[in-house]
């Protein structure tokens, strides 16, 4: 089955993969916050953020194709904002593009949104592609996120692949019977599919839970081996990813 999940490359061998996820979580979260609050006219700062991320992608040996493909998720949003640009009329001089007049102010908004969302999505892609999801949750747990929350997340993540497979099987079965919905009143079929998906997954969940009990599950979430320790490398990494963007922003 095909899944678009990000931690597909999280088991590669690289210096970035070996770091304690806590350092990556703190570093990348800081990078995103610094980037999002950067005034859009500091162009050099955005170049620095992207440069840092490019270096990290090379260092972590992630396939560029994977990174760029995942980057496409922000494109629809940028295009929606681009569609609204002609409606911003005030300020900043204007440019004529055929019948459409675009103001400098509108272009600045588009640049602001495109640059910030690209840098931030890249940060999340690097974080999730170099860290198995269970280790990310382990790091959150070590950082005192409530255990109820992390165990809910870890079960959710485990079940998602099972249920997505189930949904894809149902969709394939439907399509192979020649269904091609074009109009809203044909949505009934999808309603029945979702109902069947719910009933199947609930009853499956009951069986899985019984099986878990039979194997000695005693509550308190899934325990995984957290094989990381904070060291000098982690401190250096967090400092680099958090402080380099901050310096770039203050200097530009």
């Amino acid at each position: 089955m095909k899944h678009a999940f990000l931690d597909r490359y999280s088991h590669l061998e690289s210096p970035v993969h070996r770091l304690d996820p806590r350092a990556k979580l703190v570093g990348f979260a800081t990078l995103v916050v610094v980037c999002v609050t950067t005034p859009p006219r500091l162009y050099a700062a955005f170049v620095a953020y992207l440069g840092l991320e490019a270096a990290l992608i090379v260092l972590s040996r992630l396939p560029w194709k994977h990174v760029l493909k995942r980057l496409l998720v922000v494109l629809p949003f940028i295009m929606v904002v681009a569609a609204f640009i002609p409606f911003f009329s005030k300020g900043g001089g204007s440019y004529n593009l055929g019948p459409v007049r675009i103001s400098g102010h509108g272009l600045l908004i588009l640049w602001n949104v495109a640059a910030k969302s690209t840098v931030s999505v890249l940060a999340v892609i690097i974080l999730s592609s170099t860290t198995p999801f269970s280790d990310l949750l382990g790091a959150m747990e070590k950082m005192r996120v409530p255990r109820l929350f992390t165990s809910l997340l870890s079960f959710t993540y485990r079940y998602i692949f099972v249920l997505v497979d189930e949904a894809q099987r149902m969709r394939r079965a439907r399509d192979s019977r020649g269904w091609s919905g074009k109009w809203l009143w044909q949505a009934k079929v999808v309603g029945h599919m979702i109902a069947a998906l719910f009933l199947r997954s609930y009853e499956r969940g009951e069986r899985v839970y019984a099986a878990m009990l039979a194997r000695g599950y005693g509550g308190g979430g899934v325990r995984t081996f957290y094989a990381y320790e904070l060291g000098i490398l982690e401190a250096g990494f967090a400092a680099l990813v958090a402080l380099f963007p901050l310096a770039a922003r203050l200097l530009s």
């Binding site: 931030s120 959710t156 969709r171 109009w183 109902a195 998906l197």
Partner: protein, 226 residues
């Protein structure tokens, strides 16, 4: 409707984040009260179900399609607080595991889809249910209308947040978002009502907010659903 990073300004991010954290925190508190150990895997299963259901596109017009949001369905199946918690889990996994929706926009996304699209519209649904006759078709109609409202209100909140952040002009973005989602919401309404009617027929015990008297469901062997 998953807002990425960089589309919202600091004020909107912080305000929606605080509101979302408050409601989800209360949801977690209620979850602790209501749930036993068994419910943790089952609640997570609910989240995974909503995630998978969101992948099934439904047709809208001439080959374009919308996808299911599931907030109202989760609220009717699990109650508003657990439903909101489930939607939050879905959004968190989408943000961290799939880079869908930004880290700093997480608060806004949770606010739109879990707080407005699930918890708040549940109470609108309950209001509707109170004034309608206490019969199953009206229950389903109220849930359908609630589902429509949940999609439309969540998209409206999204447009208002983007406008407050100066990313898109309110006078254009709000009617556009509301117009598109008023149509998509019809699909959401039809599917929510259909799913509930099937579940009520097969496993009425799984619809936690169904409180109508009268003949219980037609006994259907639950093997059928496997």
């Amino acid at each position: 409707m998953h807002i990425p990073d960089g589309f919202l300004n600091a004020g909107v991010s912080v305000a929606t984040g605080a509101a979302a954290a408050g409601v989800v925190g209360y949801g977690l508190y209620r979850a602790r009260e209501e749930l036993d150990e068994k419910s943790v895997p089952l609640l997570a299963l609910g989240a995974a179900f909503i995630f998978a259901a969101q992948m099934l596109n439904f047709p809208v017009a001439g080959g374009t399609s919308g996808h299911f949001l599931g907030g109202m369905l989760a609220a009717v199946l699990l109650g508003p607080w657990l439903g909101g918690l489930v939607l939050t889990l879905v959004l968190l996994v989408q943000c961290l595991g799939f880079a869908d929706g930004g880290l700093t926009a997480l608060g806004a996304n949770v606010f739109n889809m879990a707080v407005i699209g699930t918890v708040a519209t549940y109470f609108l649904f309950r209001g509707l249910k109170a004034v309608l006759p206490r019969r199953r078709p009206y229950f389903l109609a109220a849930a359908g209308l609630g589902a429509w409202l949940s999609v439309v209100l969540a998209s409206g909140a999204c447009a208002v947040e983007l406008a407050l952040s100066g990313t898109s002009p309110l006078s254009v973005a709000l009617p556009a978002m509301l117009g598109i989602h008023a149509v998509i919401g019809v699909g959401e309404a039809v599917i929510t009502a259909l799913v509930l009617s099937v579940v009520l027929a097969v496993r009425p015990d799984l619809v936690r907010t169904y409180d109508l008297p009268g003949p219980s469901a037609v006994p259907v062997d639950s093997e059928v659903s496997r």
